[in-house]
């Protein structure tokens, strides 16, 4: 295994009853990289993200994240892996409506056993870094889309994951909010955070990623390094 590889995927295949979502994908993501996965709808890019996050299991092939072979883990093992190994950002934020912004973020640390006070302190630090400290006591329903996604990013970073996964992180945002989230992801990558994002948005890919992978019909059709556009 490549020593600085955070993600190492070998010959990954995922079949559903009536279709093949992934067909022999192999991929390595090194520490500090920002990789964008692009492709048309139904190409298998979200399935690929799910495999890396341990949200779904492959039909064959292996997924090793930060040295952990996900195929060897049971459901509880995968849950424990997700707690500390990765952070996830979703298109639709997926915040709990009945927790305040701060409690949503602190929750991720509390699941690892961090005491509530300590978790909230760490969450407050992240709120400060992300510029949303004045929104900490607001419930998700009263936050703007951009604010919700920042809260989601804060939650994803809460346990200092080795890998940040983002699934269409700007897909549900207006252009201004989308810009802000792009800046945020870029900043994170520039301070060393490994990033893997799935997107339709070419602007997001070229702006945040150093490598773009195009998936078509469950296979990697093209892979290219990009010059980031500032």
């Amino acid at each position: 295994m490549n020593n600085d590889a955070v993600v190492e995927i070998t010959d990954l295949r995922k079949e559903y009853s009536d279709s093949i979502a992934l067909n022999g994908v192999s991929l390595t993501v090194r520490a500090g990289e920002a990789v964008a996965v692009m492709g048309p709808s139904g190409s298998g890019k979200s399935t690929l993200l799910n495999m890396i996050a341990g949200l779904d299991r492959p039909t064959s092939g292996s997924v090793v994240v930060h040295g952990t072979d996900l195929g060897a883990l049971d459901e509880t093992g995968l849950a424990l892996f997700r707690r500390r190994g990765i952070g996830m950002i979703f298109q639709f934020f997926n915040l709990l409506d009945d927790l305040s912004a701060l409690d949503n973020v602190a929750l991720a640390a509390q699941l690892t056993g961090t005491p509530a006070g300590q978790a909230r302190k760490r969450a407050l630090e992240l709120f400060g870094e992300l510029g949303i400290e004045n929104r900490k006591n607001i419930y998700p329903a009263r936050l703007s889309g951009g604010e919700r996604q920042r809260v989601a990013v804060a939650r994803a970073l809460m346990n200092r994951p080795a890998l940040l996964l983002a699934d269409e992180p700007t897909g549900a945002l207006d252009s201004r909010s989308g810009e802000q989230v792009m800046d945020l992801l870029l900043d994170l990558n520039q301070i060393g955070q490994t990033l893997l994002l799935v997107t339709h948005d070419e602007r997001l890919a070229t702006r945040c990623a150093s490598r773009v992978i195009e998936v078509v019909d469950g296979r990697i059709a093209r892979e290219q390094s990009v010059e980031r556009v500032s």
């Binding site: 979200s46 399935t47 799910n50 996050a53 949200l55 779904d56 459901e75 509880t76 849950a79 424990l80 892996f81 997700r82 707690r83 500390r84 996830m88 979703f90 298109q91 639709f92 997926n94 915040l95 709990l96 409506d97 009945d98 927790l99 305040s100 409690d103 602190a106 929750l107 991720a108 509390q110 699941l111 690892t112 005491p115 509530a116 419930y139 329903a141 939650r155 699934d167």
Partner: protein, 774 residues
């Protein structure tokens, strides 16, 4: 096929779990309602039902055959519905080895006919000479084994071939008409049914019409159905409060659960309603789609539930009302009609209110209403919970019920009623058990020894006993011998006398005790044990039936001897015709009488068989009775019916919880997926959802136990009152702290049982599917 039906059928097929849940809940609820209504109906008029089933006689009359003839009697009856005349003999069985008292035996060719259609509940009808059928209540106390013989000197030997029951009580036994002639009949029995016999005056009017033309003095005696009913309902009315409370509880639980399930299903479908509107369905069509969607499983569940209710509930109700003589139970048509029509109506009503709300909502609003609502209070509670040191899965679970306050309140109410039922049933079981062990001790630590025949009574015998008892030692020597045996702890000598109580219609048996009455005598509830010749203690049933109280004096007569006895206390015994006196009183009423039995308590560690052998060695004429069975048939019926009803109602309450968790998990699919995506384990998801119901279980337990105790404190005195007894402490004071704590846990058990399966299902939810299905 209309668009409404197409959309409704598609919705049913798409929501398989919800459809199944509605179907099962309606099925279980309908079955419960059939049982509840069946209980209420049976409890409302058990005697009337049995009387109607048997075409009971409004009037039983005995005529002197020397003064009138069968033809005369038939002619006098005219158009009145009647049966008979049946020759009637009186048979004294005191000389028989099996003592059955004095039997009124009628000669009948068959058990049917236009009046007094007898129910043969064991064996068969008497068809040949030498056969006899006894009148016994199904499930009543006493041995019900067929084949034993009644042999009376100078009369034909009679073998018991069947047990039948006559609600009218027209006779104690029946033989063939030929056989009764050999028993020397002394009367002709006629049984009448009148068009109107609701009052004593109407019965008297009927009696006048059927005896017109009969020679004067030919009518020996009559028995009105009103008299029979008074006696029957006073003896069996103990069941009525019990049946009614369970019937009402069953109804309320079923209605609550159905309302919860259906309204929850409609609320969960708001988004679907909005989408239909967006497609162009009119508000009326949308509402129709939803009502049809709910009605399909509801109607199916209702029909199956009615069938299941009849199938499963009848044996339970049968058990409960068997004591009334009802052996062929069929629920009145209205019970099934109410279930078949009422349940769908209830379901549609429950669906209508939220569906009407959805009907008026704009499409976009209806679509967004499908997610969980969040009140300020719910958010405040959730915020407070995050500050507690509880594990996060637990604190999140504790906050769930507050997000859907209405649904949680209905679920809580069903858990409360479930716990209330469990508490009441447990209390009733404890009361019945405590009462049984108090009035019918199983005598694990003692033996009953027979010494001879009580004066004026046959000797008590059992097949195991062998030869009848006939003590070889004197009374004093027997007592001395028993006291001297190794292992003897206490000895009580007993004799009994049948006495007439002046001023009343009922006689009484007086038991005279000598020896260790404090250790072996009945428990004195009030007053004191007799300590002189003129004193007696009695059970509350004896006092209540005669309007007596402690301090009153009764006059009793045995043979030629009469004496006054002052009631000095109330004892805890069950038989209303048995009272207790000191041995010194026996010397007044029947001087020189010896003890006919002894109770001997042995010390711990003594082997019963060894002790019994030692008694036989000490006096070979003594006979040791087999150990008693401490239970009563009434107690067994109450306990078994309580347990069954509790299981059914507990299951229905758990189904309510099951449904709530299904709905909550469905609404929170996205939240659950997100929690799993950030590392919540399947076990933690299960814990969270089970905790969400556990909190309702705890609250339900805390509220349900006092309500159950309160119901017990109302029902038990009513049952005791119906039995003309008092609500004594052993009946009332049955709940103790450990039992109450355990009962409070019933709420948690109901909640956890109901929540576990859907919670585990939710824990297995595919995160990828949920989070990307927006």
């Amino acid at each position: 096929m209309s668009a409404v039906w197409t959309a409704a059928w598609a919705a049913v097929r798409r929501r398989v779990l919800q459809t199944i849940v509605i179907g099962i809940v309606v099925l279980a609820s309908t079955a419960t309602i059939v049982m509840a209504l069946g209980l209420l109906e049976s409890a409302a008029a058990p005697f009337d039902r049995a009387f109607a089933t048997q075409q009971g006689a409004h009037l039983s009359a005995a005529f002197d055959p020397t003064k009138t003839s069968a033809d005369q009697l038939k002619q006098a009856a005219g158009q009145t519905v009647s049966a008979g005349p049946f020759p009637q003999a009186t048979v004294d069985t005191s000389a028989s080895q099996v003592f059955l008292g004095t039997l009124t035996v009628a000669g009948r060719a068959d058990p049917g006919g236009p009046v007094d259609r007898l129910t043969i509940w064991r064996g068969r009808w008497a068809t040949a000479p030498g056969e006899i059928v006894l009148n016994r209540t199904p499930g009543g106390e006493g041995g019900n084994n067929l084949g034993f013989e009644i042999s009376i000197p100078g009369r034909p030997k009679l073998t018991v071939v069947g047990f039948a029951h006559s609600v009218t009580g027209s006779a104690d036994a029946w033989v063939t008409p030929d056989q009764v002639n050999a028993l020397q009949p002394t009367a002709l029995q006629m049984l009448y049914r009148f068009p109107d016999a609701g009052t004593a005056a109407k019965v008297a009017e009927g009696q006048k019409s059927v005896t017109t033309g009969i020679p004067e003095g030919a009518l020996l005696g009559t028995l009105s159905h009103l008299t029979v009913k008074d006696k029957a309902t006073s003896e069996l009315g103990v069941f009525i409060p019990f049946l009614m409370i369970f019937g009402i509880l069953g109804l309320v639980v079923a209605v609550l659960i159905v309302a919860n399930v259906v309204s929850g299903a409609v609320v969960a479908g708001f988004r679907h309603i909005g989408m239909l509107k967006a497609l162009g369905f009119t508000p009326g069509q949308v509402m129709a789609v939803y009502l049809v969607m709910i009605s399909i499983p509801a109607v199916l569940g209702c029909v199956l539930g009615t069938v299941a209710g009849n199938f499963f509930a009848k044996p339970i109700v049968q058990d409960a009302v068997e004591g009334f003589g009802v052996t062929e139970l069929s629920f009145a048509p209205w019970v099934n009609a109410v279930a078949l029509l009422g349940m769908p109506a209830l379901v549609v009503s429950a669906a209508l209110v939220p569906a009407l709300r959805a009907r008026g909502l704009p499409a976009a609003q209806a679509i967004s209403a499908g997610t969980t609502t969040h009140t300020g209070r719910a958010l405040r509670i959730q915020r407070w919970l995050t500050t507690t040191p509880l594990p996060r899965s637990v604190s999140l679970g504790l906050g769930v019920p507050f997000a859907r306050a209405g649904r949680s309140a209905l679920t809580l109410a069903s858990v409360v009623l479930g716990v209330m039922t469990v508490t009441l049933a447990a209390g009733l079981t404890m009361s019945v058990t405590a009462y049984d062990s108090a009035v019918r001790p199983s005598y694990d630590d003692r033996v009953e020894v027979l010494a001879g025949r009580p004066p004026g009574l046959p000797v008590m015998r059992t097949p195991e006993m062998g030869e009848p008892p006939n003590a070889t030692l004197s009374d004093a020597d027997d007592e001395k011998m028993l006291r001297s045996l190794p292992g003897t702890d206490a000895v009580l000598a007993v004799s009994q006398l049948e006495t007439e109580v002046a001023g009343g219609t009922q006689n009484a048996t007086i038991f005279f005790y000598r020896g260790d009455t404090g250790k072996l005598g009945p428990r004195v509830l009030t007053g004191h044990w007799p300590d002189g010749p003129g004193q007696v203690v009695a059970p509350s049933r004896f006092l209540n039936q005669r309007g007596l109280q402690v301090g009153d004096t009764i006059t009793v007569q045995a043979n030629e001897n009469r004496t006054e006895l002052k009631i000095v206390g109330v004892v805890l015994t069950n038989n209303e015709d048995e009272i207790f006196a000191d041995w010194s009183a026996l010397n007044v009423l029947a001087p020189g009488t010896r003890a006919h039995s002894y109770q001997v308590r042995f010390t711990s560690g003594t082997v019963r068989e060894t002790f019994t052998a030692a008694i036989a060695k000490g006096d070979p004429g003594l006979r040791v009775m087999p150990p008693r069975d401490g239970s009563s048939s009434t107690g067994v019926i109450i306990v078994s019916a309580s347990v069954t009803l509790t299981l059914v109602l507990g299951l229905v309450a758990a189904l309510g919880v099951f449904n709530t968790v299904v709905l909550n998990a469905r609404e929170r699919r996205r939240d659950l997926g997100m929690l799993k995506s950030i590392g919540m384990t399947p076990r933690q998801v299960t814990v969270m959802l089970v905790t969400s119901m556990g909190v309702l279980g705890v609250l339900g337990g805390l509220a349900g136990v006092p309500l159950g105790v309160a119901a017990h404190q109302l029902v038990v005195p009513a049952m005791a009152h119906a039995a003309q007894s008092d609500a004594v402490d052993v009946l009332m004071q049955v709940y103790h702290a450990p039992a109450l704590a355990l009962l409070a846990l019933a709420g948690v058990v109901i909640a956890v049982l109901g929540a576990l399966v859907p919670a585990r299902g939710a824990a297995r939810l595919s995160i990828a599917t949920v989070l990307h299905n927006e």
